[in-house]
Amino acid sequence: MPVLTPANHWKANRVRTGSSCVWLILLGVLLLAGPKPFAQTAASVPSKEYQIKAAFLYNFAQFVDWPPQAFPGGQTPLVIGVLGADPFGAFLDETVRGEKVNNRPMVIQRFGRVEEIKACHVLFISRSEAAQLEQILSSLKGRNILTVGDTDGFAQAGGMIGLVTEKNKTRLKINRDAAKAADLTLSSKLLKPAEIVSSEKR
């Protein structure tokens, strides 16, 4: 990983803000995402807890390395998916708008069912899907998707990163085996503030 010096950072910023074609691409992507979820989420404002979790979703992308086959093209966008009822509303879209991770644009996609998921890199599995969690996770087995969820015992159930709230703070529980199985490399830095757990056989 290249060390980003302040000077480089500033230069990268300028290139990003100065490049209008990137904006056009982003606009196109947003339009492709369809007017329905956009209109649906615009009105609702998520709780403070989900604002933090939205930021976490974005940040996870920075600490995880996907295998090359996850990104067929150099400009293939990094897709953050939400499965089930979306608790973030428009906030998640605002969080990632105009942002890039490892020089890739970011895209939010919302899925009703697991079968709908085609290209996806980070998948937030909503609490609404708690009942089918085991089934969802097993269906995603073998795909290079970082699964994140805030249902109780998410990581122990085979999810990769579980978001738990302790003393009013959001903490991470990480299942390294699950991530390894998905051929994802988690940065050691990510592990540091997290609690490592492993799958519980039921």
């Binding site: 990983m1 290249p2 060390v3 920075q62 942002e99 991770v101 959001t170 990510l190 503030p193």
Partner: protein, 612 residues
């Protein structure tokens, strides 16, 4: 003791030590200066690297808002004692975590400043972005380091430098102690030789040459000089020997050398003969002994030396006393002897015994004085006699006039009362008697005038002699009535004298000329200047008259002396005596040249007036 007076060994060592010390100090100073300027950069780089590591480690803590984790990461700075404080700010610029934990929040900047370093008074502050990969900024890391590191480092360097200086000084000391011998050894040996020579005065010693460098050249030159000194000493010794022999053999002169205080240091045979002391008796004695000890005025010998020192030479004649107490008249010459720098080394004293010459001179002087005294006595006696004679003459002349007037008066009365009764013969007797009385009156008058001349004061003034001669000749007109006389006057100068007295001289000489040319036709009378030497003019009065026999020349100017009979030429015989007296009183002379019947020339001298 200054560096100048140090022995050359120490001087060389001092120079080596000072040089190496200064070079070392300069090097250390340069090193310190370099360190001082580069250490800021080094410190900044160090802090930057440290900050980079911390920032990288704290990305996850910031990304997932784990303050405990962030604190743990910051706490790891404990190992770096110069980090005073550190803080993490989140992406919104809020203080997220701090180190050390106990510091109050206001000890940290309220918000992160621009990225980069800033040097504060005693601290170095650094703001670094916290970024994961090339992505969005997660927050800012703040680090604050004190500059104690610099001072700590400088303390270390100072210790090392001090150790280096001490070790170098020791090494330089031992090295220079060995190496300075290369230079100092030949010089020291040369100096040692020179010292030995100057102490023993043995100029046959030679210094050993140790190399062909400048010291070698110096040694050669030194040896050459020694050779020259030796030769000169030899020549000097020979010359001195000759001189000493000469001095020793001279017997008529006493050659004595005195030291600056006046004590005898050398004595020759002449001195022994003249002063009577043997050499061994007189050496070291003060020269006042020759002046007779007690007899000499106090301070006289000191005065003699002082004059000799001041003027270089002193000469006098005076009495000296021999050893046996007898005196002799000595001619002494003292000369001050000085060396090249003018320092007084002593005196040379040359004395001659000139007692014989002195007594001969004294004898001559005595005789001269005697003679002079006798002349004075005689002159005084003569003057006395002369005055008495004059007084006598005057009173006689004066007393003679009274009876003569009686005779005159009675002769005239007799001629008046009895003239008619007397016969022709008697009347002639009376007439001759009257004429004789008149002549005698003239004689007495002239004699009185002559006597007065001895007393009258001469009033000096400038006299126009030409005019005076003309007046005098004009005044003689009555006596020359009817005669043919050819006068020729001058030219005549202005002279110094009393006009009344000079007129008497001219009246006398010119009337004589008129008188003695009686019978000449024409008579010739001429006046003029015969010669002039040093302001003294010789005036002449010449006639073609009767002249006189020069055999009787000495009688010509005597009183009552006459060369002609009264029947032939009348006269009293006082005129020329008077003239001579006047001229003498003017400081001049008078004389005459003549031949019988061939005329006479009278000469007299006068001082020419300075105005004319």
């Amino acid at each position: 003791m200054s560096l100048k007076d140090l022995p050359i060994k120490r001087k060389l060592m001092a120079i080596t030590l000072i040089t190496s010390g200064v070079v070392l100090l300069l090097t250390c100073s340069a090193f310190f200066a370099y360190e001082f300027f580069t250490f800021r950069q080094t410190t900044a780089r160090h802090l930057s690297t440290l900050g980079g590591v911390i920032a990288q480690n704290s990305t996850a803590a910031l990304a997932f808002e784990n303050r405990d984790d962030a604190r743990d990461i910051l706490d790891s700075l404990k190992v770096e004692p110069h980090i005073v404080s550190a803080a993490l700010y989140d992406k919104n610029g809020r203080l997220f975590a701090q180190y050390p934990a106990h510091l109050p929040a206001h000890s940290f900047p309220a918000a992160p400043a621009n990225d980069g370093f800033r040097f504060e008074a005693a601290y170095l502050a650094d703001f670094q972005p916290v970024v994961q990969g090339g992505n969005k900024r997660l927050g800012t890391l703040y680090l604050k380091a004190d500059r104690g590191a610099i001072y700590e480092r400088f303390r270390l360097y100072a210790t090392i430098a001090a150790a280096v200086v001490v070790v170098s000084a020791l090494v330089a000391y031992f090295l220079s102690q060995t190496l300075q011998k290369q230079i100092s050894q030949p010089i020291l040996s040369l100096a040692e030789t020179a010292k030995a020579i100057s102490q023993r005065r043995d100029y046959s010693v030679r210094a050993a040459k140790q190399g062909r460098d400048e010291v070698g050249l110096l040694t050669d030159a030194f040896n050459q000089m020694l050779t020259q000194i030796q030769e000169q000493n030899q020549a000097l010794g020979q010359s001195e020997e000759r001189f000493r022999l000469m001095m020793a053999t001279v017997k008529d002169y006493a050659f004595v050398m005195l030291d600056p205080a006046g004590c005898v240091v050398s004595w020759n045979a002449g001195a022994e003969r003249i002063h009577g002391y043997r050499t061994d008796e007189i050496l070291g004695q003060h020269f006042s002994r020759f002046h007779g000890g007690d007899e000499v005025a106090p301070g006289e010998c000191e005065r003699i030396l002082a004059v000799t020192i001041a003027e270089g030479r002193f000469e006098e004649e005076g009495w000296r006393v021999r050893k046996d107490g007898t005196r002799f008249w000595a001619d002494t010459v003292l000369t001050a002897l000085r060396d090249e720098s003018g320092q007084l080394r002593g005196f040379s004293k040359v004395t001659r015994d000139i007692t014989e010459r002195k007594s001969a001179q004294d004898e001559i002087q005595k005789l001269n004085q005697d003679l002079e005294r006798r002349v004075h006595e005689r002159t005084a006696q003569l003057e006395e006699a002369n005055k008495e004679l004059e007084a006598f003459s005057y009173s006689v002349s004066h007393d003679l006039r009274a009876p003569l007037r009686h005779v005159q008066g009675y002769v005239e009365l007799l001629a008046k009362h009895a003239g008619d009764t007397l016969n022709e013969k008697c009347r002639r007797y009376l007439r001759v008697a009257s004429e004789s009385v008149t002549q005698m009156g003239d004689l007495i008058d002239n004699l009185l005038a002559f006597c007065r001349m001895g007393r009258v004061e001469v009033r000096q003034s400038s006299v126009d002699l030409q005019k005076l001669v003309q007046e005098t000749a004009d005044g003689l007109q009555p006596e020359t009535g009817g005669r043919k006389i050819l006068w020729k006057h001058g030219p005549l100068p202005q002279v110094q004298g009393d006009p009344a007295l000079l007129k008497q001289v001219l009246v006398n000489l010119l009337s004589n000329a008129v008188k003695y040319t009686r019978g000449r036709d024409p008579a010739q009378i001429q006046t003029g200047v015969a010669s002039e030497v040093n302001g003294e003019v010789v005036i002449f009065v010449r006639d073609n008259g009767a002249g006189f026999d020069t055999n009787y020349f000495d009688k010509l100017f005597g009183v009552f002396q006459r060369l002609h009979r009264a029947e032939e030429f009348e006269g009293t015989g006082v005129g020329l005596a008077n003239a001579r007296r006047v001229i003498n009183r003017h400081g001049g002379r008078i004389w005459a040249e003549a031949a019988v019947n061939a005329g006479a020339t009278f000469y007299f001298t006068l001082t020419k007036s300075q105005k004319g």
